[in-house]
């Protein structure tokens, strides 16, 4: 079976042209989407749903930087082991705690603007880690795995912040 990069005719590397990804995703969906098979046999409908589902999964994986890095490592046979390996360098853990504290303060003060700033900070940090992972993936895959785990941490905190904002705005 083709891997996700091959499916969208992209080079198998972290830095990709997202415009090409978008274009090729749309081209592919235009051919295989279930809407094209409404009058087809049950067998073709099923294959269409499977293929479109796979294309959606592949697209989301490559579009999202953390997922893309994780997938590249997986193709190289390296598990990022995010569920079990939660060991982090001390400085990263400190930054984590600061974010969580800032989040609690904002919750208490019902300050959405502060949460937006927090999101900006984390996005900034994530961008740096993404640049780092792009270099590490070929050179030092084991270190790349740690960077992916860090990115996953940031994604998780961002998710929680977004949820908190939704709660405060309700």
């Amino acid at each position: 079976m083709q891997n996700y990069f091959e499916l969208f005719q992209l080079p198998q590397q972290f830095t990709i042209d997202t415009a090409v990804l978008d274009t090729n995703y749309r081209k592919l969906l235009a051919e295989v989407h279930p809407d094209r098979f409404v009058n087809a046999s049950a067998a073709e409908k099923m294959h269409s749903m499977r293929t479109a589902t796979l294309a959606n999964e592949a697209y989301q994986t490559l579009k999202q930087p953390t997922a893309r890095a994780r997938y590249l490592l997986q193709l190289a046979g390296i598990a990022t082991d995010e569920e079990n390996n939660t060991a982090m360098p001390a400085d990263f853990l400190m930054a984590q705690m600061e974010w969580r504290e800032a989040m609690d303060d904002a919750r208490f003060a019902r300050n959405v603007a502060a949460l937006d700033n927090l999101l900006q900070d984390m996005r900034q940090q994530a961008r740096q880690l993404q640049q780092q992972v792009a270099a590490e993936i070929t050179r030092a895959p084991a270190e790349a795995a740690l960077t992916v785990r860090k990115l996953r941490f940031i994604d998780k905190v961002s998710e929680d912040v977004n949820q908190l904002i939704a709660q405060l705005e309700d």
């Binding site: 295989v32 749903m49 589902t53 939704a166």
Partner: protein, 629 residues
Amino acid sequence: MALLQISEPGMSPAPHQHKLAVGIDLGTTNSLVATVRSGMSTVLHDEHGHALLPSVVRYLSDTVVVGHEAQAAQSQDPVNTIVSVKRFMGRALHDITDRAHIPYHFVENDSSQGILELKTRAGLKSPVEISAEILKTLKLRAEKALGGELTGAVVTVPAYFDDAQRQATKDAARLAGLNVLRLLNEPTAAAVAYGLDNAAEGVYVIYDLGGGTFDVSILRLSKGVFEVLATNGDSALGGDDFDHRIYCWLLDQVRSKTADFKPLNEEDTRLLLTKSRQAKEWLTDNHEANILGKLNNGAFIDETLTVNQFVQLTEHLVSKTLTPTRKAMRDAGLSVEDIHGVVLVGGATRMPHIRHAVQAFFKQEPLTNLDPDKVVALGAAIQANVLAGNRSDDELLLLDVTPLSLGLETMGGLVEKVIPRNSTLPIARAQDFTTYKDGQTAMAIHVVQGERELVSDCRSLARFELRGIPPMAAGAARIRVTFQVDADGLLSVSAREQTSGVEANITVKPSYGLNEDQITAMLKDSFGAAESDKQARMLREAIVDAQRLAEAIQAALAEDGDKLLTATERETIQTHLDALLALCQGTDSQAVKQGTEALNHATEAFAAKRMDASVQKALTGKNLDSLEL
């Protein structure tokens, strides 16, 4: 005068012939049917020239009346005249919190787990059956206007409808004898109509406030691709709630001015609700509304409601629409500067204070150049036309999303999310679980939908049990639960124990849905009493299905048969095809069904090859001829 051609009964028409396909907007207050004629999407009218069919169904002792006539009788016969039935679709009795103000006799159906029914003089009626009456009326209208039987229909649903509500809508359409080509989200349908009409490109917001539901969808429009970036809403918020605010105000006024005010009966409740709706509509173009009337309990109504009072009474409802709007913008990762246009949909967006609120939020004047009542049906008709295969250029592609997260109950009543909201459809995700105790052989799986962390705060969609897990130590079993959401936004769930292969498959028939047997039974009932009628109808349906498949296979063979099949493979398929066509000349519906099944099975490998070829073609732009296969 040109002569119309009619093919021999039972013969399939030529594949290039224009198929009769319609889009149906099954609304809370009004419903419509539209079709594409000579390249133009048009709403179909009834014999009196009405485009809107009031979504009102009145049960008489031996007949059913739908539309204007039923609406006219609602005050005199409130219990048997059902309005806004859409609010009850896929709902249990305990979901309807304002029952006291609705003049119906609600009953809980004990055989189908809490599904609500209404007691009428024609017996107990489920919301699915009542909606089917509206759909039947529209189907008849369309067949009369178009002069033939419909190939299929696209039926719209609020984007924020959950799985139970979608399933109920599809059941109603099937009960009405419609071939459902697709369930389409209302805001997406509106975007299609608006986007194609105005050659719009960029990011658009569809703000859709209907009679009973609110949706907001954010779409990116680009070269015929309509990609939903995020959707949100409230499936129990609409124009009806604005009426209800006036109703409560009116009741307070009358009560305070009448000595010895007696409780309202059903006729009075309905009368006050009708007066309230009229006042709301009047206030769209006027500064104040006079409300006059006499109640059965002897009280007189003579009240004046000003626009300012109305705005005050309903302010919180307007802001209730802005919360989902903000959430959708966040989920899409956009700010108001990114928005090219805001399209207003739904009759309730005629209210000036809604327009002002939307304008203030998005810092731009909303677009209102399409009739907010018709735009959904018009868009659905365009999609139906494409799906039926009438458009040769397939430029149009709709990429929609699931509005609510789907998850499973885990220990402690917590939800483990499996598919997040705003995932592009179709989508599948798997989640692995393990056993809690040594020797555990069964596992209860509880599927829920919603954004909250606790199971009790989410909607329960289905419960099923995976049995026959081989006894193992706690934590050793690997149970993989797979969620698949199809292009209609409907969920199916399967579970499989990985080490032993024990499997359980269910299409999520939500706790409040009908099962396949119930649908079949209802369909049979509606065929008429005579056994011979039922047989004839069943045969006809089997033949229609068989012919649909035969046509699809013939088209596929003509297109790819030479390229993808060996002579022997082709011959096998042809044999099954010929056999099925022969069976269609007979009278054995069971045999036709089996023949259909056999042909489907025989074309499995061919279908897979065609799909692979499509993938290749999509990206290389090469025709099959130039590919090495």
